[in-house]
């Protein structure tokens, strides 16, 4: 077990093409679930110069104007000038209707135990959840800081403090660990795109970003950049426009940004664009829920929970708890307590987290908000899997 090391994690703004596609995919999921909570929908999106491809497979009563959703998201993110414009973009949509009989049409909350057993996983999945005590929200520090930076980068654009910024942006934070505790910030790198070449010069940009983005982001942090911290701003020169015009985006390519910044293991499956019946998505949420509650209950300082599902079974075939030596009690004991108090069956997860009805209940859609800045560890929106209501039971 390494005690002293350097770890880096990255995050991207919501204007990054990959994240744009994630948000579009999830907005489509929202749109379907809002009209018909029993929809089954898988949406994939690819964005390139001037063209967006959206492939939707669905079995649903809902009727959604997918092209309009894609444009709306692109517009909200800020793509309304330059060569990729939401209004003008060509959207190629492919639709495939699936047979609804294969999918559940009843509210999982109303199913009894036997029926829940019947609701099996339809995809193989090994998912991981992680929690640690770096932050108050029990998330690893590097990715948490990276998110703060990109959020701030986006905020200064929306608030017009730095109006020359374009939606695309990226951050990376390197944190030095001593005895597995974060002690200093080794490096920070920011890539910010600007609307036009003459909008700002690099020197001014650097000064602005340090003053308006980096400094405010770290203001309330225990670990802050010091005089030796390397700060790189646009190390390869100015990025003009950015976005899909510069590099293509695809749903599901920022898994690490969506989860733990690679600090822990994570599943290779994309999280965005899938409806609640997909265990490769909701399992990750359940695993996070488990890990967070374990750490919150004080059973360990950091904890990784692994769930493995096989096609045809509703229960996971494997539940593993790994506390990396920080467990107060034996890992097996923790696992037993977990399994005793937490139902990891597909239907149980859907009903516990109310995954089908959240889009209709949350203003502006639910899953769309997960499309940027992480599916887990969020402090800005209330997520069901971030609740620590299991603590009392497993302590």
């Amino acid at each position: 077990m390494k005690r002293d090391f350097l770890f880096t994690s990255e995050s991207v703004t919501e204007g990054h093409p990959d994240k744009l596609c994630d948000q579009i995919s999830d907005a489509i999921v929202d749109a379907f679930l809002m009209q018909d909570p029993y929809s089954s929908v898988i949406a994939e999106c690819a964005a390139s110069t001037g063209v967006m491809f959206v492939a939707t497979r669905f079995a649903s009563q809902a009727r959604v104007d997918v092209a309009e959703v894609a444009r709306r998201i692109a517009h909200q993110v800020g793509y309304d000038q330059g060569s990729f414009r939401a209004r003008d973009a060509t959207v190629m949509t492919t639709f495939q209707e699936l047979t609804p009989s294969l999918y559940s049409q009843r509210d999982e909350k109303t199913l009894n135990d036997a029926e829940l057993e019947q609701l099996s996983a339809r995809h193989p999945a090994t998912v991981f959840g992680y929690a640690c005590n770096h932050t108050s929200n029990l998330m690893p520090l590097p990715v948490s800081l990276a998110h703060r930076l990109t959020r701030r980068l986006s905020a200064v654009r929306f608030e017009k403090l730095l109006p020359y910024l374009a939606p695309d942006g990226q951050s990376q934070v390197g944190v030095e660990f001593h005895n597995r505790r974060p002690v200093r910030i080794h490096s920070i790198s920011l890539v910010a795109s600007q609307r036009a070449a003459d909008a700002v010069d690099p020197v001014q940009l650097r000064a602005d970003l340090i003053e308006q983005v980096i400094t405010p982001a770290f203001r309330d942090e225990a670990v802050r950049p010091d005089a030796d911290t390397n700060i790189w701003i646009n190390p390869y020169g100015p990025v003009i426009e950015g976005g899909p015009a510069l590099h293509a985006g695809l749903t599901g390519r920022k898994n690490a940004v969506d989860t733990y910044g690679e600090y822990s293991r994570h599943s290779g499956s994309a999280l965005s664009g899938k409806d609640p019946s997909r265990i490769d998505r909701i399992g990750a949420y359940a695993a996070r829920y488990a890990a967070k509650n374990i750490v919150a209950a004080g059973l360990a300082e950091e904890c990784e929970v692994q769930l493995s599902y096989a096609i045809g079974l509703s229960r996971p075939v494997s539940v593993q708890v790994e506390t990396l030596g920080t467990g107060r009690i034996d890992d097996d004991e923790i696992r037993r307590r977990l399994e005793a108090h937490c139902d990891f069956r597909v239907g149980a997860i859907i009903s516990r987290f109310n995954l089908r009805h959240l889009p209709a209940q949350v203003k502006g859609g639910f899953y769309r908000k997960l499309g940027a800045y992480g599916h887990v560890g969020r402090t800005d929106i209330g997520l069901p899997w971030e609740q620590t209501d299991l603590v009392a039971a497993i302590r």
């Binding site: 001037g50 009727r63 190629m92």
Partner: protein, 1048 residues
Amino acid sequence: MSEPLERQPEFKTGVKTQRMGHAGIGALVTVVHTGVAGRLRLRSALLYRAEQHAERIGAELALDPRIVEVRVAPLTGSILLHFDAQTGPGAMIERVVQALSQLANDLQTTDVDVSVRAAPKNNPSPPTPLPVKPTTVNPVAVRPPLARMHRISTVMPPWHNLPVSVAIRQLSVDLQRGLTLQEAAARLLRDGANSLPIAARRSRLSMLTGQFISGPVLMLGVSAAVSIATGGVADAVVIAAVVLINAAIGYFTEDYAERTIASLAKLDFGPARVLRNGVSMNVARSDLVAGDLLLLAPGTQVPADARLIEAEHLSVDESALTGESLPVSKSATKLVPTDTPLADRQNMVYMGTLVTGGSARAVTVATGDRTEIGQIQMLVGETRPPETPMQRQLGQMGTQLAWASTAICVGVFGIGLLRGYGGLAMLKSSISLAVAAVPEGLPTVATTTLALGMQRMRRRNALLRRLDAVETLGSVQVLCLDKTGTLTRNRMTAVEIRTVEMDVRIRDGVFTRAEGQRVEPADHPVFARMLEMVSLCSDSDPKSDANGSNGSATESALIEAAGLAGVDIPRLRREYPRLRTRYRSETRHYMATWHTSASAAGGRVAVKGSPEHVLERSTFVYLEGELVDLTPELRVSIQQQNEAMAGAALRVLGIAYAPLPYDLTPEETSELSLPPLIWLGLVGMTDPPRSGMRELMHRFHRAGIQTVMITGDQSATAYAIGHELDLGQGTPLQVLDSTALERVPPELLSALVERTHVYSRVSPAHKLRIVQALQRAGKVVAMTGDGINDSPALRAADIGVAMGDGGSEAAREVADIVLADNNLHTMVEAVEKGRTIYANIRKSIHFLLATNLSEIELMLAGIALGQGEPLGPMQLLWINLVTDILPALALALDPPSDDVLSQAPRDPAEAIIRRADLGRMGVESVTITGGALAAYAYALARYGPGPLASTHAFSALTLSQLLHAYSVRSEHSVLTDKGLPANRYLDVALGVSLVAQLATLFVPGLRGLLGTAKIGLIDAAVIAGSATAPFLLNQLIKPGGTGKGSKP
């Protein structure tokens, strides 16, 4: 809207400007001056420059006892009244208004703004002339016989370089009123009619003489001369008869073909709209003269060369003149240098071009053959329809074959001489062989077949406008279909209205909520206001029915809904007279109208258009009777409403409005920006697909034709319809949604179009791009269209299909096929006919070549083997007559086989006769020759050389050839081919030929002429056998026994 209707006119004396509100009357009359008691000066647009009207009003007013004196001045349109001072001016004004209203009614003006208004403060200029409802005035048709002789010199001033005022002066015409009727008639006399020189068709005489001036006829002439010289007068007579018969048949078929082709759906365009005598009227195009003021509207063809005076967003498709495929924008105010090329003269419009958008007023500068297009046509000379690719191919092939055959005939002559046969006899034989066997006139086969096919298509209401469209029909791979009007009936009905507070359905004229309770629109102010705004922001008349273009169908549906809700539309429009309109365009996705109000309620801006765009411009909304800000949550919920409606395949429009300051003038509304709007709601309209469309799509798919739908609707609507019609053919439906297709790189677009089934949110300008992208991807594209903006796409497509009924003139002009009854099913029939005609031409040529080859081979074999001539010269000519003409014609009329629409389209690059075909023809001719040779050999063996032997060869060959006509009907064995329908014509033709052939054996006179002899029963059996054997053999060597039908 429930303001008091009656208000006493109030005014102050001595003050010029005042406003009088009088319910239901508008700017019919403007009060100029009422200062002095007993004197009144008014001005009216109706009288402006209208002597007759002025006289009439003057006379009428003079009759009024209260009036002392009346003076009406048409020059300014003003009326000066001296009247009894006891009477108030108000009463006088009323009298004048009454008289003018009566006049207006008589002119059938319904849209006249009949309010009384004070003169604007600052200008003494006359008010703009009112829009008068069109009356069709037929000017006196003066058509002097020799008008054409008076050619005005073609040295014309460079109109595009002259300012409008100068042009007007040059042409001596009044800018506001146009020519007077007398002046127009005089100029017609002077300049001649405005018509283009019609190319003279080939005269009948030249067609007849053409029959006699050809190689074969000349050769036969030589042969006849030789016969006469050698004393064979009978022979010469026969030759002459043959020539005459051939000539007659040739003349009749060619004449028929020419007539049919010349009648290729000629369109005559409707009348032109001009301003004469201050009144806009319809005038026959040929009656236009220089100086006429043209009023141009979208969808019309420009009737003469003209200089623009004023143009509003005018765009013109000039491809007929310049070849430029996209419409060009025109502007009246630009002056361009004298040497500017035609395509860049932005302030001119030319005869023969099509107005695709906007409107304009222009002064005619040239008519008839003095126009640009007239000049071009004079240069071109006699116009014949261009040769189709197939005709060209056949022409080339025919020439090559003719040379080859002639060479062989010369060879036969030579070998005959070598073999020791008499020179003269060989000469006659060779000439007859040449005449019979050399395939001349292959293109004629094609032409005749095409003409016959075209007639049959016309009977099915598919009017062809270009000959080569028939060929292209057989190779169409993609059919691009317009949604509105083609796949649907374009009869919109409003079925759903949603405001932020209410969801209302409209069924059978009744408004109900989703739950079922009835809704009275009058009880819900927002709802009522929405319908009122919709009525104001529409051009449609409540009384007219929907016809043709998108705009009016949508508006008719809206007006209908408003009417159902009890809105009194004419009255509403009178209460809120329209000041200005901004129409929907490529860059503006909504229509906005500015209205003033007779009452103090103030004016309105009414907006309707694409929901996102109207919502974007709305800032407020009524919630529970209060005007509140449109919060983001409300916006989202409105967007969701829109999506839900679009997802139900409705066309959705957003409606909003804003109040305007009271007392706004037209000038003030000319600023373009919209005020922040109050959102009212969404209207959803359905335009259901025509019946049977889904099955029709399946038929196209089975024929190997991909169907693609193009629509301006949102993608959810487009998807719903695409799904209903199964355009994806079972595969996932691909929808391409774009408002800016021009920003997609061409290679990417070409790749995308190959997979796309539906295009949504597409504007007409993009149709051209889609067609071009498909063609770049190597497809043969057919496109349907009926709107004025479709002409570039229709022209670019390999087959442009226009709807005959209700489509625009422009579309029908450029299309290759016009479906006269708007029935898309006819398109499938057209494809079927196209493929069949092509196949039939193939069959005819196949037949002709195989049989002609067999004749050559037989002669060659016989002479080369030293067995005498199997066929005499007369017999050869007989074969030419009997076997070449009737069967070939009958084959051209072969009906379509059952599976012609179950096969893939033909490859357009494929030659009509391929190498493989030539090979097969050779083999078949050999079998036929073999059979005839066998009969000949038998006869030689039994009877020795002489007429009897030659009779055997003659009869066997002819019968064999006749049977071959059946054989060519299919690629597969005709005995087992199940999909081959009967061809009555062929049966009859072959029957007649058979009878004729039997006649040669039994009629003594004929026997003598042709040199045949009587045969016995066994001989007959041998002949029959040697005619049927090749037929059977030819079936056996065809590919794949039991295939169905004939592959083209």
